[in-house]
């Protein structure tokens, strides 16, 4: 397909349709409205269905039904709405249904604000709802990567029969960049789902369910889920290193913050500082070993975790670092996007503190 200029939120929609998604259940919330609006326009053109649900609770349960009926299906929201989807996500993970959920994160807690944030990291990567489960979480840093990961997300959801979350933020959803969207997959060529509830014709009845009343059965079901998450940790680690091969100070950041940190690395190097960047792309599974290996291999003497939240990503970074080198947090919660210059001056010891944006 030809290269064109697209807004992040709209590009997600087109990438999803190219991936064979024909069903979208939404509910309005800033800053992701362009995605449901795009789907409302585009899905009927390709024989699909866009439905505005009465709440995020309903939307995610419609996703449950549609995924159980065998369709490639998607929903999107932003932080407060994603909180409402947690019940459904837990059921979807429990019933092992594939689907893709987009969270364009905004600052919180509560109604918070509508500016970009990364404060849903824990909720996204550690389960979010009740029970032992994980979403597979992917965090793009550009509109093109967003498009590529949406395509992959549908394949991964089917591969693992697990919900996949695209974790973005207001910047990524709102900004326009040139993108190329891969050719559409014919819906008929998608993998068969013999487990789906499509009517028990010439086969025994199928069941979509997360209830296992016998503790031994439930524990066996949990063991199966755990094995799945372990397989993800072996096969789905995604990350990027930038100027890391001789780094003395390693920045760790994901999503739009990582993009800002690339500029910090460039500026720092111009000033003679040996900065490098490690960018996790898969947040669950988290690339613990690749980060630990990098630190050991390169002789990093300090790790700085930069996040638009109050200290969430840093917990996983510290699990990877295991105390080998000092790890500090540069946290910018509340919808404030840090500027490269202020991060750099903090690195140089010229002041700045967590939760404080110097204007």
């Amino acid at each position: 397909m030809e290269r064109r200029l697209m807004k992040g939120n709209e590009a997600i929609g087109e990438a999803a349709i190219a991936a064979g998604c024909r069903y979208f259940f939404g509910y309005p919330i800033t800053p992701q409205n362009e995605l449901p609006e795009y789907m409302a326009r585009r899905l009927p053109e390709v024989g699909g269905v866009y439905l505005q649900a009465e709440s995020e609770v309903s939307a995610i349960n419609m996703v449950y039904g549609a995924a159980g009926a065998g369709a490639r299906v998607m929903t999107s929201s932003s932080s407060p709405g994603i909180s409402l989807k947690q019940e459904g996500l837990s059921y979807i993970a429990g019933a092992e249904l594939p689907c893709v959920v987009v969270n364009m994160v905004r600052g919180g807690p509560g109604l918070g604000g509508i500016q970009p944030a990364q404060s849903d990291y824990f909720q996204a990567t550690k389960g979010g709802g009740h029970g032992d489960y994980h979403l597979l979480v992917l965090a793009p840093a550009s509109v093109q990567e967003l498009v590529n990961l949406v395509r992959e997300a549908f394949d991964l959801a089917d591969k693992y029969r697990n919900p996949v979350m695209i974790l973005g933020d207001g910047v990524l959803g709102q900004m326009m960049e040139p993108v190329t969207i891969a050719d559409p997959v014919p819906v008929a060529s998608l993998p068969a789902k013999p487990w789906a509830t499509t009517g028990a014709q010439d086969r025994p009845a199928n069941l979509i369910n997360s209830l296992y009343i016998d503790p031994l059965e439930l524990s066996a079901h949990n063991a199966k889920l755990i094995a799945k998450y372990e397989r993800m940790a072996r096969e789905e680690l995604r990350f990027e290193r930038y100027c890391a091969d001789d780094a003395e100070i390693l920045l760790v950041a994901y999503g739009i913050t990582a993009r800002i940190c690339r500029t910090v690395v460039d500026l720092g190097r111009q000033a003679g500082l040996k900065l490098g960047l490690f960018r996790p792309i898969s947040l669950f599974p988290f690339p613990y070993a690749p980060l630990a290996d990098l630190i050991a291999e390169v002789g990093v003497n300090k790790v700085i975790c930069v996040e638009m939240s109050a200290g969430q990503l840093v917990e996983d970074v510290r699990l990877a670092v295991e105390g080998r080198v000092p790890t500090v947090l540069y946290g910018y919660p509340g919808g404030v996007v840090p500027l490269p210059a202020e991060i750099l001056s903090r690195i140089k010891g010229e002041g700045g503190a967590n939760g404080v944006r110097r204007s």
């Binding site: 649900a53 309903s58 549609a66 979509i208 369910n209």
Partner: protein, 255 residues
């Protein structure tokens, strides 16, 4: 009777599995299951039906209905059914929900499925309490009715008033068929079966949302014998929740 003149007057519905029900003795959930299965059989729908079980005593309905099933979160069955129906518009989709599930935690889902005219069939079991969790007050609990959370009886000043779901949904333009039936005696059961079949026919006609509210007993939590519970259903419950057809926008089809 000689062998040649034997005629089968009643059999085991194909749309039920052979699994024994776990319901309490005298509970009418089992009768309602059978009526749904008989309607699916009569219309030849088993192989194209997807049922949605809810959370309540009927949570294991998927063990009993011999068709594809999905189990939904508490109150969310109409949303799950919507998702299924939008993907498979030619399939027959029904939910089976209790009154706690449908009239309390799931009010948003049922109201909006009905308002959209979602082409699904809802079997709504109203036994005026939360059976599964031990007989707590439901939105449908009658004024004065004792439950474990209204030990002195439901008082309007504190607990508000019972909801007549069928009447409430009947105010909307989306529903094609809404009826209330009762299971208190054989005659009522036959009538209930007709209404359930009619609700599925409405779906086959793509006429819109259909719901049958089924007045049902919970002898265990009502603290009554099964026979007494049936009497109570007829004399007290059906007095407040009047049986009848509230909406019928279907084409005339022989019931």
């Amino acid at each position: 009777m000689s062998a040649g003149r034997e005629r089968l007057v009643a059999g085991y519905p194909e749309s039920l599995t052979e699994q024994a029900f776990h319901y309490c003795p005298g509970c009418t959930h089992g009768i309602a299951h059978r009526l749904v299965a008989e309607a699916l059989d009569a219309l030849g729908l088993r192989e194209r039906t997807i049922g949605v079980a809810s959370v309540g005593c009927s949570v294991f309905a998927y063990n009993y209905f011999n068709c594809d099933m999905q189990q939904a979160a508490h109150g969310r069955a109409p949303a799950v059914a919507t998702g299924i129906k939008r993907v498979l518009p030619d399939a027959v989709v029904f939910t089976y929900q209790g009154d706690g599930d449908l009239a309390s935690i799931g009010t948003a889902e049922i109201v909006h499925a009905a308002a959209r005219g979602e082409n699904i069939t809802v079997i709504f079991i109203n036994n005026t309490n939360y059976g599964m969790t031990g007989g707590q007050m439901a939105p449908t609990t009658l004024i004065g009715q004792k439950t474990t959370t209204t030990p002195l009886g439901r008082v309007a000043e504190n607990n508000g008033y019972p909801i007549r779901m069928a009447e409430m949904l009947a105010t909307l333009d989306g529903p094609a068929y809404i009826a209330r039936v009762s299971l208190h005696n054989a005659q009522a059961v036959v009538q209930a079966g007709r209404s359930i079949k009619k609700a599925f026919q409405a779906q086959l006609e793509r006429a819109g949302f259909s719901m049958v509210e089924v007045l049902s007993t919970c002898p265990t939590n009502w603290g009554m014998t099964p026979v007494k519970a049936l009497e109570h259903l007829e004399k007290v419950v059906a007095e407040y929740y009047r049986v009848g057809v509230l909406v019928d926008r279907t084409k005339e089809v022989a019931g």
